[in-house]
Each structure stands twice: as structure tokens, then as C-alpha cells.
């Protein structure tokens, strides 16, 4: 099969990726190694239940509650576990705070590490070669691809997730949000603002 390295077992599967998954799924199901109902449960979890709304609630609460924010920044794991935001790919969380002088941004140059319990499955661009290659070397040009410009006196700190520690960016609270409650604030928090490639929305 010219598409694959010929010595690799994966070359024995069909070349079309959708058929390739289907073939493997069929073989594994017939042998009782995977349960189709468990697959549905995994997909439903990440498609519908776990996503950036979790992280947005954490950010909104940190914006509203100084004690919560201090505890979150000091040691995020127990704080997040108490909220139920613990689990696969979020076992060791560190929350990093943006300030007017420092903007944080997260990448995994080696694969696609990402805080699943807080942000869900990463978007396609996060896993792309371009983001993985460029985020560490030219974060400001990457931010420009997202339409984000930083003031000249603001330094960028890029976190490359090389271990099992996962990072969440705590963005700057937008101006003009003084009277808003946690739910209204959470609606301003975007996924990209928690990766560091975007800023929160500004209230209308």
C-alpha cells in the first residue's frame, strides 16, 4: 500500500482513514476488546459534557472571588478537584495569570497536550504543525494570526507542555465588567483566551 510505510502493521489496514478506524473497531469489537457502548459513552462525554465551559466557570469565579483566585494560583489541583474538574489529561493543573506586563500562552510542541477536564478536546489548530512549530519561536506573529496584538511593554511567556502538567491561562478581566455576576462573566470567557491565543469578550 503506497500510502504507508510498508513494514508497519498499520499498512495492513485500509488507506482511507475513516475505513481504517472502522476496520480496527470491527476487529477489536469482534474479539471483545472494546465495547461499542463504551465508545459511545466516551464520545458523548467529550462532545457534549466536557468542554471550555468548565474552564470559563473557573475563570469567572477567579475574577469574582479573590480568595478562590489566590488558592487556584497557589495550588490548582485541590481547588479544581473540589469543583469536579479532575480527570484524564488534567491530573496536574497549573493556572497562570495574565497581567498587563505578561501574557501567557500554551502549546505542546511534541504532541498535543491540553487540559481536557477544563477545555475538552483541543481544537484542530492547536494540534496543527504550524501552531506547534511557531508558538514557541514567534508567539507574537502567531497571536497576529488570531487578531491579537499586545502592547510593547507586555512580555510573552509561552508554556510548552512537555510533561503531564497542564496549563490554563487566567486572562485579564475585561474592563466594564464590575457589576457582572459569575454567570455573565463566564459568558465572556472564550476557549482561546484560556489557551492564550485570544482575549475574553468585552461586554456589549
Amino acid at each position: 500500500m503506497p500510502h504507508d510505510h510498508p513494514d508497519s502493521p498499520h499498512a495492513l489496514l485500509p488507506p482511507d482513514p475513516a475505513l481504517r478506524v472502522k476496520a480496527l473497531e470491527t476487529i477489536l469489537t469482534e474479539k471483545g476488546l472494546i465495547d461499542p457502548a463504551a465508545l459511545e459513552e466516551i464520545i458523548d462525554t467529550y462532545q457534549n459534557r466536557i468542554g471550555p465551559q468548565n474552564g470559563a466557570r473557573v475563570v469567572a469565579r477567579a475574577w469574582s472571588d479573590p480568595e478562590f483566585k489566590a488558592a487556584l494560583l497557589a495550588d490548582a489541583d485541590p481547588v479544581l478537584a473540589e469543583l469536579g474538574y479532575y480527570g484524564r489529561q488534567g491530573e496536574h493543573m497549573v493556572v497562570v495569570e495574565n497581567t498587563p506586563q505578561r501574557h501567557n500562552m500554551v502549546v505542546c510542541t511534541l504532541c498535543s497536550c491540553y487540559p481536557w477536564p477544563l477545555l475538552g478536546i483541543p481544537p484542530g489548530w492547536y494540534k496543527s504543525d504550524a501552531y506547534r512549530a511557531r508558538a514557541v519561536r514567534e508567539p507574537r506573529k502567531v497571536l497576529a494570526d488570531f487578531g491579537v496584538t499586545l502592547p510593547g511593554d507586555c512580555a510573552v511567556r509561552v508554556w510548552d507542555s512537555t510533561a503531564e502538567v497542564r496549563y490554563l491561562v487566567l486572562p485579564l478581566r475585561p474592563e466594564g465588567t464590575e457589576g457582572l455576576g459569575e454567570e455573565e462573566l463566564a459568558a465572556l470567557v472564550t476557549r482561546d483566551s484560556m489557551i492564550g491565543t485570544g482575549q475574553p469578550k468585552v461586554p456589549a
Partner: protein
Amino acid sequence: MTRVHDMGGRFGDGPVVPGAEDAPVFAEDWHARALAVTLACGALGQWNIDTSRHARERLSPKDYTRFSYYEKWISALADLLVEKGVLTREDLEGKGPAGLHALAERALKAETVAGALARGGPAERTGGPKPRFSAGQAVRARIPADNALVPGGHTRLPKYAAGAKGYVLRLHGTHVFPDSNAHGLGEAPEPLYAVRFFARALWAHPEHPGDEVVLDLWQSYLEPL
């Protein structure tokens, strides 16, 4: 390890194309299947996260470069299933024996999914060597960025940082060492540090004098300065 996956700092990849915030989690149905099949097979307990990362990195450079993201996952999974003796090449060709597999009793069930995902797989361990470095200390990332135990083996030291001077920002605790764990040589936990590097220590033409990159690096990746 071909290092084709180790692309930090590489030139020539073009613009990043942002996606809409409300885009579907899985762009194609088969992406969701690939993720779910991979997670379900992980639950069989025949390998760990470092083994599976290494399996993706070991795809031939031609395959790694051409394959889309989840195609890498599913292809590495097929290779790993054969390598670990769970399936045979005949099974992949649809010519294997029928019937239940000896590992079938370990299969993840719908009712155990939530618990398994919520438990996760913490990498922090007690014991191991004592921390050798403290916050603020200057260190150098080891060069070359190769696995010290296994020729061509897995490592989580990106090549762009090898040989660079940085400063310990914090100690994360003692974590499973991927260079050992990926090869079935044990967890060999080591202190893990967040180390900050000035962009100017990594790149010839940094964008801004104040910019930094932080990496999580195990103790044996680091030398004192």
C-alpha cells in the same frame, strides 16, 4: 525516535488558521471514533501514555508527515496492538481466528467509562531522587536531546532547548520519567521542574527581549550552571 514530531521552532509551516469557538469538537465522525477506540484500548492496560506517544513518534517520517492528526493516532494504535501481542498482522488483515480475546474481560464497559476518565492517570510519585535544583537556580538543558537509556528512544526534552541556559521557576514534584517508562523500563520517577528560558537563549532572532518559553523538564535533563 525520528524527531519528526519535535517541531518546536521549525520554519516553513505557514500561518495558524484559527477555528471558530463553536466549531464541532470532532470535525469528522471518524475523529471521534479514533479517539474513543484509542482510549478504550488504553484501558486494556498493555501500555502507558509514554508508550503510546512513542508509538506515534515512531511512525515513519513519511507517514507522520502525510497523516492527519487522528490518522496518526489510529495507525500508531494498530502498530502498538501488534507490537504488544494483542493483535496479529493476520488479525489486521481480517484473517485471524474468530472468538473472544483473552483480554476481553478487561474491556472498558459503558458503565465504567465515567469512573475511568475521572480517575485519570496521575504521574506524580513519592520517593525517587531528591531535588537537586531550587527555584531561581540557573541550569542548562542537556545536549543532545536524546534518550540516555535506549538508542533512538523516547524523550520529552525538545531539541530546540537542548544546550540552552534557563532558570528553575518551580518544582512540580516527582514525576514518572518518560524516557524509561515509554520503554517498559519502569517509572523511574524524578523531580520535575518548570524551567524558563529567555527567548534570546533559544532563538537567534527573538521577537521581544522580554519574551520567555517555559518547559517542564526532568532532573536528568538538566545540568547545574
